[in-house]
Amino acid sequence: MLPKRLSVKIFAAEDSKVKPAAIMPVFQHWIQENTLEGLLIDVVDYKHVHHGPGIILIGHEGDYGLDFSEGRAGLLFTLKQNRYETLTEAVRESFRLAIVAAEKLSAETGITFNYGEAKITVLDRLNAPNTPETFGTVEAQLSNFASRVFDGDVSITNANADPRDPFAVTIQAEATPAIETLLEKLSLSLTSVS
């Protein structure tokens, strides 16, 4: 299964102080300084929307956002131009880009992130309807990858109960890995982690 779009969300740590108003200037200067990979276009402010996408740094290949959906703040990367050949590859790259952005945001704002949990949402109801069959397919494709990246036991659970919602899974690691280890594993060639 190769979806058109997917997103990876890394959650802010429970005790992290998240002030949406402080994010806009950070994203603006990331555009000025080409801080992240890919073409960065503009920043959009949805902080007035309840449990919404917060502040989004719109890009061409993907968007980065400080997202508040489901009432939990987190760094959300949405892959919009999926040029990868497998689901695992698309998830790995999206995960890596999300972590890089989260680390940079952390350095500038003090928000801390919990890298032991990630939500992966497949924004493609045609290729990935929110069904048990899709869960089976995705779990089979991601479990090996996830346990190698997190270096140990992981659980993969269906994250969106409502069948109308896009299909999503939560990957939860038993132990939170060190960020350096995580990034190193995500940067390795796919064959070595899948």
């Binding site: 000025q32 073409l39 503009d42 109801r125």
Partner: protein, 748 residues
């Protein structure tokens, strides 16, 4: 891989499916360089596929203008509009009517093609932003599967037909205008007589004169419900207004006809469209709205032309067919009527009830306004609202021109539970239709013409007003604030008590975002009068200006004196004196915050202002219609590739007919769509007269069409289909060059 086209093929209305296929074909043609960019721009605009800020590939980042290196490089979707740049998709919601299924599909689309946000516009449309053009055909198919369309949502055509969100449940209305607005919206959708406008054309219906909801006086065509007694019977009809509009210079509409019956209004709208297409300005887009034509001709001459067109129109059963359906039009309440029974009313419920609940004319029912901040809600909230609608009101959902949603036919005893459910999804805010419910156009967030951040300012005002809402004096609670990002007035600032529109001023080497303050406009009486521009104030001082104006009004006003009357009594000079202390701009070094806009941390610049697409390019009717022939021809090539020779033959033949029709319609608008009529008119007008003749080939290419028309193949063969596809190509080229010879232009 399965496609949406395959999955939905049995669920799409045939005409919409075909329209979308044509557009998909045109996308391919444009990518191959075989469709002119101006023609493509107009064709996408007529499908609601709109440009967005920075789509020219440049953006000022606060320090310098940077090039946005989109991968599509030189491919454009219109002049200076890069293919890969994100765009906006507008979706028409005729009379604002939405069903649960439609709401759920909109939620899916916002997730998968946009940024997860649905936005309600001041014309009851829904907009999705940051959409890639390659996704639009599938997006349209998914909409069409629930009877929704984007057709003619933008461009020089008839835009969404709006009407009061309370029609059918309102105490003041003459009768329910909803079925009339729906019928007119679909009668004019894609109609031949609305394809050749120099600019957009907006229509609204209103159920009564004194209240505002329909705003008929600010529309190109406004229809105000009336009844008359004729021979002892009450007859329904409308006062017909024409030539109203906001825009740079607002115009109050004029009465075209005091009373047109329900049997006359479709035909009348068609006649008005025909006069606008024939006589309206086409080259100078600044004077191309119908209001300029009416000002130039005078209402009497305009009326004469309309009545002349009215008499000469070929008969169309659809003028009156819809009347048979009217008796069957009725909202279906989900539940029976009931009375609200509540003890110990909680404060939050009381506040919400006062502003967001309207007791319907039908005893035991209410209409509830769901207050959407800046018109936005998430796809998740859309699903949750769909669940709420399923539980309380069924399909009785409407969008409003104040960028909210209403749930109609709530059984009164359900109100407390409904309130709790709305609160749980973050949509239980009170204050609908009051001073905190600020309306805003997209402004610099996404609009290419935006000068200042209307949404940024609106968000700021809203936050501040909500903070102090418990202590706001009653006198100002119901004032309306509306904000536009520029003088074009999409935020409808002219008809607000307190309106603002964006502009800019210079201080030293810096530009400073400003808002012009417009006071005393009138929402009531269907946009009864327009506000006065008082002066431009730096954007960052607008919240202070709002405070000073409202404080003074509260202190100064005579008992029951309206805001409009107070502004008039004070006079422009005195009001300006009140604002003057706020007009100064500090030096940049003293306060750099003045040099950034609301909701934007960049140093302000106006370098990003681009060329708007509000009107689209003015592209001739011929160019638009021949583009359809080319797209059909392209489909015939695809069918050949797929070895589907029957389809290739049929499509090539259709392409020839469409090409012939495009030329015939430069002389005879009413040719219709019947193949025999097209061929006959073409033969008489262009073949027999030799106008179509090529210098070398004579009438050969036309004879290709005649031959296929007269002798369709008994069985489509590979060779036969190949030949016809080739011939169709030559015929289309022949039509192009003949049109150039005859009319001297193709595009523009």
């Amino acid at each position: 891989m399965t496609t949406w086209k395959e999955v939905l093929q049995d669920r799409l209305p045939e005409d919409l499916a075909h329209e979308i296929d044509i557009f998909e074909g045109q996308i391919e043609l444009r990518k191959q360089g075989n469709l002119d960019e101006k023609v493509f721009a107009e064709t996408r605009l007529r499908r609601g596929v709109y440009g967005q800020r920075y789509d020219n590939g440049f953006r000022h980042d606060g320090v310098q203008t940077r090039e946005l290196n989109f991968p599509s490089a030189d491919l454009t979707k219109g002049p200076n509009t890069i293919w890969d740049a994100p765009g906006m998709q507008r979706i028409k919601i005729p009379f604002g009517g939405l069903t649960i299924d439609q709401l759920e599909v909109l939620a899916e689309l916002a997730d998968e093609y946009s940024d997860g946000i649905l936005h309600i516009t001041t014309r009851q449309d829904v907009q999705l932003h940051y959409v890639h053009i390659d996704d639009t055909p599938d997006l349209m198919r998914r909409l069409a599967s629930v009877d929704m369309t984007t057709l003619e949502a933008c461009g020089n055509s008839v835009r969404n037909v709006t009407s009061c969100p309370l029609s059918g449940v309102c105490h003041d209305e003459q009768f329910d205008v909803s079925p009339y607005s729906k019928a007119l919206a679909y009668f004019l959708l894609g109609h031949d007589d609305v394809q050749d406008f120099g600019r957009k054309f907006k229509i609204a219906f209103s159920g009564c004169e004194q209240h505002a909801c329909g705003l008929v006086r600010m529309h190109d065509l406004g229809l105000l419900a009336r009844t008359r007694e004729v021979d002892g019977e009450i007859v329904r009809g409308f006062t017909v207004f024409v030539g109203g509009g906001l825009g740079t210079v607002p115009h109050q509409a004029k009465v075209l006809i005091e009373f047109a019956t329900e049997a006359e209004i479709m035909r009348l709208a068609q006649a008005i469209s025909r006069v606008f297409a024939a006589h309206g300005e086409k080259q100078n887009r600044n004077r191309a709205r119908i209001k300029f034509l009416i000002a130039e001709l005078g209402i009497d001459e305009f009326r004469r032309l309309v009545m002349e067109a009215y008499e000469s129109l070929p008969h169309d059963d659809r003028w009156t067919d819809y009347i048979d359906e009217l008796p069957h039009w009725a909202d279906q309440p989900l539940k029976g009527p009931s009375q609200l029974q509540i003890r110990n009313i909680p404060d939050d419920f009381r506040a919400w009830y006062q502003t967001n609940v309207y007791q319907q004319r039908q005893d035991g029912y209410s209409t509830v306004t769901v207050n959407l901040p800046l018109g936005d809600f998430t796809s998740k909230q859309a699903y949750q609202l769909a669940d709420i609608a399923r539980q309380y009101v069924g399909d009785n959902i409407r969008t409003t021109v104040e960028q909210n949603l209403v749930l109609r036919w709530v059984s009164n005893e359900d109100l407390p539970a409904l309130f709790e459910d709305l609160k749980a999804i973050g949509l239980g805010d009170p204050g609908a239709g009051t001073i905190v419910d600020v309306t805003s156009c997209p402004g610099t967030d996404t609009c290419k013409l935006g000068i200042a951040s209307s949404r940024g300012l609106s968000g700021e005002l809203r936050t501040r007003l909500i903070e102090k809402s418990a202590n706001l004096p009653d006198a100002i609670k119901d004032l309306k604030i509306k904000v536009s990002g520029c003088f074009n007035s999409c935020g409808q600032h002219h008809i607000a008590d307190i309106g603002f529109f964006g502009n800019s001023r210079r201080k030293g080497n810096h530009k400073v975002p400003h808002f012009q303050v417009v006071l005393g406009g009138q929402w009531d009486d269907n946009a009864g009068s327009f506000g006065l521009a008082i002066g431009a104030v730096p954007a960052k001082r607008i919240p202070d200006v709002l405070d000073i104006i409202t404080d003074r009004y509260v202190g100064d006003r005579a008992a029951d004196e309206s805001f409009q009357a107070w502004i008039e009594r004070l006079g422009k000079k005195e009001v300006r004196t009140m604002l003057e202390p706020f007009m100064d701009i500090p030096e940049f070094e003293a306060d750099p915050t003045f040099f950034s806009d609301w909701g934007d941390s960049r140093i302000y610049s106006i370098d990003d202002i681009g060329v708007g697409e509000c009107a689209g390019e003015v592209v001739s009717l011929f160019s638009m219609e021949i583009a359809k022939a080319e797209s059909e021809h392209f489909d015939s090539l695809l069918a050949l590739d797929a070895h589907d020779y029957e389809s290739a033959d049929e499509k090539a033949y259709n392409a020839m007919l469409l090409a012939a029709r495009s030329l015939v319609r430069t002389q005879y608008l009413d040719v219709g769509i019947d193949a025999d009529s097209i061929v006959e008119e073409f033969r008489t007008r262009f073949y027999d007269t030799k106008l179509i003749y090529d210098a070398f080939a004579g009438g050969k290419f036309a004879r290709y069409m005649f031959s296929r028309h007269e002798k369709p193949p008994v069985e489509a063969t590979k060779e036969g289909a190949h030949q016809l596809v080739e011939e169709a190509q030559l015929f289309i080229e022949n039509i192009h060059s003949a049109e150039q010879r005859i009319n001297g232009v193709i595009v523009g």
